[in-house]
Amino acid sequence: MKFLEDILHKQRPMFEKGGKLEKFYYLFEAGETFLFTPPTVNKNTGVQVRDAIDLKRMMITVVIAMVPCLLFGIWNAGHMHFLAIGQGEASLVDKLLLGLQLVLPVVIVAYAAGGLVEAIFAIARKHPINEGFLVTGMLIPLVMPVTIPLWQVALASIFAVIIAKEVFGGTGMNILNVAMTARAFLYFAYPAEISGDKVWIYMNEGEKLADGFTGATFLGIAASASTDGTNVVQTASTWNGGMYDFMNMFIGAIPGSIGETSTLMCIIGAAILIFTGVGSWKIIASVFGGAYLTAFLFNLIGLNEFMLMPAHYHLVIGGLAFGAVFMATDPVSAAQTERGKWIYGFLIGFFTIIIRITNPAYPEGIMLAVLLMNVFAPLIDFTIVQGNKKRRLQRATV
């Protein structure tokens, strides 16, 4: 790798202070540090050795944790298509190829559009490009329907990076989760392309749904079943030849956003995050716990059929699992105190179910619940920190 090192070394002066391309230093820095961890050593005072970790390794760990969801999403995009046109027996390769063809452009566009904004801000504001975008750029595609127009992906990524992050002063300062903001933006700006029955399954022009097949998500069915007064689980079980069986929904071969359908894959991702210590197990566990308990309470109230749906169904449908594992755990927008994390996660679960059941206009609650709790996270932390201060103060007066 000596030759690469030499090339970079030669280019360096051009980007440094006084060089021709001085303005683009942080672009150069991003590229250089991507290839080579710099030879910087510790200062004369302070720690003389450092932990082997750096932010790049940390962030790539999160990306790796999302890979199971991504791969499953690619397969599922193809699988849903063939199922919908009545060719469910199509080969694995066909499904994967179609899935790749559909999903890859979304991923590339999200990275390119968001990355461009990051780069422009890095140049203008003279700060390093933060590796956090590795994660955001992957999260955004995974919460989009497979049929999303690419220009909307680009627009949402740009909007989210600017409005959710850069206006607050860049990485580490943002209040809202960037990927969730991207999704919320599309949800309110272009609802037709991100909600309803038609968007979750890719159809070629002219292709028709097979007889009796529907592109509705389970949440959509559940919401309408409750207004009709029919038992949700029984109704859903008659759709699409048993697709909405609990086990099948757990595995995730159902319509939904690209990466969110499989609870199983989210659990694998959660295992990676928790084992590596990158994601907070407290947040993940308390989102699930909060959602289950709230759903259980609704079971007891039981005013309509949706409320009566068994609580554990809530954990495998919609984006709850994906949101709990990958969105709620974003360390910047989540609560930062350890006790605060329990409260924060629990309330996300709680509000998700409240929104699902009591607000028929938004069948999915996790998105708004995460954003809402992002806003309240500093308040939760404030109370916990206040407690710490008070203990100190009490000691002083003794």
């Binding site: 090192e5 750096d54 580490g172 201060k389």
Partner: protein, 455 residues
């Protein structure tokens, strides 16, 4: 009131190059007193000129801001050089040592005399002889003000830093002096003198049999041995409180001053680290030139010499001087080479570089007993703060490190105070700096915060 503390949080940095329990006498030709070693020293002034002769215990410099405290020569000989830096700032006073050490004489007492001594005469003997700088004040970690009376005094009798010397070994047979030192200190404080023992192991009687002190045991991994962590749990510091701390070396030095009437600056230090051929103990004096200790004793050329340990020490050159408060010299490889991301950079699996974390490819956790050979690389670039929850796992105190650090960054006095700036000095947050993903200089930040509050 005796307390038994069990601390769970922390992290062990297990390094290669532990000292063998063997001591060789190896005095140096030259010694230096460096004003930069003394936290809170404002305007140091040398009292002698180059060429003047000194004895061990002869005052050589003082701080204009607190002019009763003398900093005295560790050995006898002559002032070889007064080194100044930018704006004539005093950096070092170097002394060329005689082969036989002569001592200034001070008043001698017996152990039983000590209890009848007045506070004034004790303070006077301590400040003029050069033992006073052993007494460090909390909050702020600066040399104590002789005119104040602390609520209590703390002595931690073990060091949990990486490759730290074994106090039971280096202070063996000093029982008499340690006891006398404690007796003297007892006269200075309102409350108790706390002697904190290592709860992890069998402890030398030097410390465990001391009388007239409050004996506590503390067990746990680093930073359990840090005296401020112990204070936090035993007798916490609030606003307006004053606690003094003394290293056992200082206690023994004080004891010797009163029993023998001399300022004895001899100390046993550990020379350790992966780049030291024969890691072991050496007997020398405060401020020793380290050259003789490292000569023919290094495994490689491209090294970093640290006065102190790898968490809180200072980088010094191969022919420079031991820090005033340090009991060890650590030598590690210098890590100034780029690392390609796939072979040994950020995407490569590594079991040879230690990590507190377990992120992708960091495998050191598989081998907790391994002795690591770590170099001085930053292992990454400075980035914005994004990760949470890790600092809290290595600070065994009821303190929120992330919030405290942010308050310091924001320069918010009230927040710093409320979040416990009075209870910390750099070394308790050194592990945070080690494990920090964003590679911030947390220790110097803490000092900035302390300086802000002191102003």
């Amino acid at each position: 009131m005796t307390k038994n503390l069990k601390l769970k949080k922390g992290f062990t940095i297990n390094l290669a190059g532990k000292a063998e329990l063997k001591t060789t006498e190896k005095p140096s030709r030259t010694y230096a007193i460096k004003p930069t070693d003394f936290m809170g020293m404002v305007r140091p002034k040398p009292m002698l000129k180059e060429g003047d002769s000194v004895k061990a215990g002869t005052p050589i410099l003082y701080d204009k801001k607190s002019d009763s405290i003398m900093f005295t020569s560790p050995v006898s000989g002559e002032i070889a050089e007064i080194v100044r830096g930018e704006k004539r700032a005093l950096l070092e006073v170097r002394i060329l040592a005689d082969s036989n050490i002569e001592y200034e004489t001070f008043d001698k007492y017996t152990l039983s005399d000590l209890s009848s001594l007045s506070r004034e005469s004790i303070v006077e003997q301590m400040t003029k002889s050069g033992v006073w700088p052993n007494i460090i004040q909390r909050p702020f970690g600066v040399i104590a003000d002789p005119s104040e009376t602390p609520k209590s005094i703390f002595i931690s009798t073990f060091d949990t830093h990486p490759l730290a010397p074994d106090y039971d070994y280096i202070f063996k047979n000093e029982d008499k002096y340690f006891q006398a030192g404690v007796a003297v200190l007892k006269k200075l404080a309102k409350g108790a003198v706390n002697v904190n023992l290592n709860g992890n192991a069998e402890v030398s009687q030097v410390f465990s049999h001391v009388k007239n002190a409050n004996i506590n045991t503390v067990s746990g991994i680093h930073p359990a041995g840090c005296v401020g962590v112990q204070i936090h749990h035993i007798d916490p510091i609030g606003k307006g409180d004053l606690v003094w701390t003394v290293n056992p070396f200082g206690v023994i030095q004080i004891g010797k001053l009163f029993l023998e009437g001399i300022y004895d600056a001899s100390k046993t230090i550990a020379v350790v680290g992966s780049e030291v051929k024969n890691p072991q103990y050496y007997k020398t004096y405060i401020g020793a030139n380290v050259e003789p200790l490292l000569k023919n004793n290094l495994n490689s050329e491209h090294i970093r010499v640290i006065s102190g340990n790898v968490l809180t020490g200072k980088k010094i050159s191969k022919n420079s001087y031991l820090g005033y408060y340090d009991h060890q010299i650590t030598v590690i490889p210098e890590g100034d080479r780029p690392r390609f991301f796939l072979s040994d950079g950020w995407l490569a699996p590594t079991a040879s570089r230690l990590s507190f974390h377990k992120a992708l490819g960091l495998l050191s956790f598989l081998n907790p007993k391994k002795e690591f050979k770590l170099d001085s690389s930053m292992n990454g670039e400075e980035r914005a703060f994004v990760v949470t929850g890790a600092f809290e796992k290595v600070v065994p105190m009821d303190i929120l490190p992330t919030y405290l650090i942010k308050a310091i960054m924001a320069g918010d006095y009230d927040e710093m105070e409320a979040l416990g700036i009075y209870e910390v000095i750099e070394e308790y947050l050194a592990l945070c700096e080690f494990i920090d993903v964003s590679k911030h200089d947390i220790q110097s930040l803490v000092r900035e915060g302390i300086d802000l509050i002191r102003e």
